[in-house]
Symmetry: C2
């Protein structure tokens, strides 16, 4: 092969990203071994047949040609309305560009905020594609820790002290921690962004999954509308992961520039999928609550199973479809514990190390199997952690 570019070779970064475990679990499943799969953030329900019917109708009615590149007007309007309802910030169709999924939105946003070689901050723990997304956009990712001791929320002083950069990527409700940023945290982020003239890219794809308090968007703080790009998607809120339908909400001038980028990077999104998106959004907030309901129940199950023992502790679980569990009492890394959980209990979870340094010694559990199987798996996880911790207490020299 002729020599490829440096940047494409640099996307994956160095070392294991912990997805080895994910592929190991897949291998076991392929061999017929029954594994409880709690690795991927995907609903255990499929996309609603009513949404698929709307897609079918749109396609049969002729929405099979090139669609308007920034998104069909009805979808831009529906997204603007939802964002305004959820965040309280005035938002019009000119503030919205439709993207082929939330991941594409994160990638496009980073191309807007900086030029090759510029730094881009992101909070740690983070969704594992973040650093690669930033590198693929030619920027240099710099992690800012949101430490377990601070409840996994980023601290203003850390943000202020981070190296010179063009942007800060935040994510609340957070994957993998389940933390929902509070007012003080968001106010701090906004102050830092204004003081340092940073763009804020706010990944809010879990905004419909809130178990405590309410979703707040950093875009609502003073001075933020002009420097904030909110990333959203129908994947999590409407169980439409496979439809690849997302958006960026930001200043109208930014949307114009992102339109130029979409013209050359995707030339628009299928019109029939966009019309299905309009239908999905028209179902309103109660519908979204219904899609989130199984995770709300399983979050309750999680809290119940963890009560009455103190080996495994959950990160503040206020939103999103995950439980981030602290297994440091076992003396193992998150990866070490996840491997034993897979080998001994046939339960697949992801090591916290896959999500950054700040979540080391944790494992992320996706609450994505039906309630009883979920509860059973979680009980077995806790028992395994208890056994390992007890052995460690008896043989501290060997295992400590």
């Amino acid at each position: 092969m002729t020599k490829p570019s440096k940047r494409i070779r640099a996307i994956t970064g160095e070392g294991s990203d912990g997805w080895d475990l994910f592929y190991r679990a897949k291998d076991l499943i392929r061999q017929g071994v029954p594994v409880v799969e709690l690795t991927i953030g995907e609903h255990d329900v499929r996309t609603d047949p009513a949404i698929l019917d709307a897609m079918r109708e749109a396609a049969r009615a002729g929405a099979t040609g090139y669609a308007s590149i920034p998104g069909i007007p009805e979808l831009r309007a529906a997204v603007a309305e939802r964002v305004e309802r959820v965040t309280g910030v005035a938002t019009g169709p000119a503030n919205v560009i439709v993207t082929p999924g939330g991941q594409a939105a994160l990638y496009a946003a980073h191309q807007l905020v900086g030029d090759p070689g510029d730094r881009a901050l992101h909070v740690d723990p983070y969704y594992p594609t973040y650093p690669g997304t930033i590198r693929a956009a030619g920027l240099v990712p710099v992690a800012v820790p949101a430490r377990a001791e601070a409840g996994f929320e980023p601290v203003e002083a850390d943000l202020m002290a981070a190296p010179e950069a063009r942007s800060l990527l935040v994510n609340s409700p957070n994957n993998p921690t389940g933390v929902v940023y509070g007012e003080a945290t968001l106010a701090g982020i906004a102050r830092v962004a204004v003081a340092r003239d940073l763009w804020v890219i706010s990944d809010e794809v879990y905004d419909s999954q809130i178990w405590e308090g309410r979703h707040l968007s950093v875009r609502a703080w003073p001075g933020m509308a002009e420097r904030c790009l909110v990333v959203g998607s129908l994947s999590k809120s409407h169980a439409m992961t496979g439809s690849r339908l997302g958006w960026i909400v930001g200043p109208a001038e930014a949307v114009e520039l992102l339109w130029d980028l979409s013209t050359v990077s995707n030339y628009g999104i299928p019109g029939f999928i966009q019309e299905a998106g309009v239908f999905a959004l028209a179902q309103g907030a109660a519908y979204e609550a219904g899609i989130a309901e199984p995770f709300r129940r399983r979050r309750g199950i999680t809290q119940g199973v963890l009560a009455g023992q103190d080996v495994v502790r959950a990160a503040p679980q206020r939103g999103a479809m995950y439980a981030l569990l602290d297994v440091r009492a076992t003396g193992l890394t998150g990866e070490g514990f996840a491997l034993r959980l897979l080998e001994e209990e046939r339960i697949a979870v992801l090591p916290g190390e896959s999500f950054g340094l700040a979540s080391a010694g944790h494992v992320r559990v996706a609450m994505t199997v039906e309630d009883r199987a979920y509860e059973d798996a979680l009980r077995r996880l806790v028992r395994l952690a208890g056994r390992i911790a007890a052995q460690r207490a008896h043989f501290p020299a060997e295992l400590g």
Copy 2:
């Protein structure tokens, strides 16, 4: 708005891109003025209901979750098989990555071949997104002329003399000219690529629309399989423009790198669309010939209308759904002629200047309305050109 990146502001380049005319036509249509629309390369038939049925079936059967990022195995295999059949080059699934359309494939390919600041060559005339696609990927576009006098095929000496670069983008069958590159041209491209260690990005999205001779892929020439990325799509061959389903075929190592890029730039393509693509490709070559047939007929109509006059001449029209017409005998630019055609005859075509310097003084006619309307529009175009040329002959001083 906080300051955006230089690169995103640079995508559109300077000056008018001639799409003004396109938007002017759209305005007239909105006002209720009947305009014959011959600007866009989109079929006058919609996507086959049988393909939409296959999509519906796949979605109802559960293909609504995250799909394999490089493409589902069945689609990668079907694309490999088609490419091998059409080009004669051994191709396996590992040589194929699925993309959200041909435009996304062009964009991804340029990110693989070079780093920011590197030069990327492309042939002129060109599809209007090419320079912006290259700029958005951080590269510097350099046009290499394929002159009207050389039948709009690039000449080896020009390619050899072009500035130092990482890649060369070619497109045969060609938009806007309708030229299909011959063996000598492709051999020359291959020699230059090997001699200069260039990647060749070969946009072959019109490979099913051949009116004379046969489609040849530059990937078939010696030394090319390791340095060639072929861009394909179902848009033109299967009237699926709105499904946004394309691919890149290249060395397996390149596909691995493009997989990394897809993970962060799109996270996969809807599985139900991919399954519709598998169904579409299974219809075989005869089906594709059927989709191409209306353009074959209209190419015949074009040749008939142009015969017996010598004011308007067509570029060698051996493939693709366009006629590139030389209107220099009118003394007008392509843009000037297209404007008069829109104002006086209510026929919308695109100026050759929108496609580069080498097609100045031409207009591109998309053969995308039903045969009789097409023939009538073309006759009126020829008559208008004749009138303008005749006036010019009488009043050369004023108009020459």
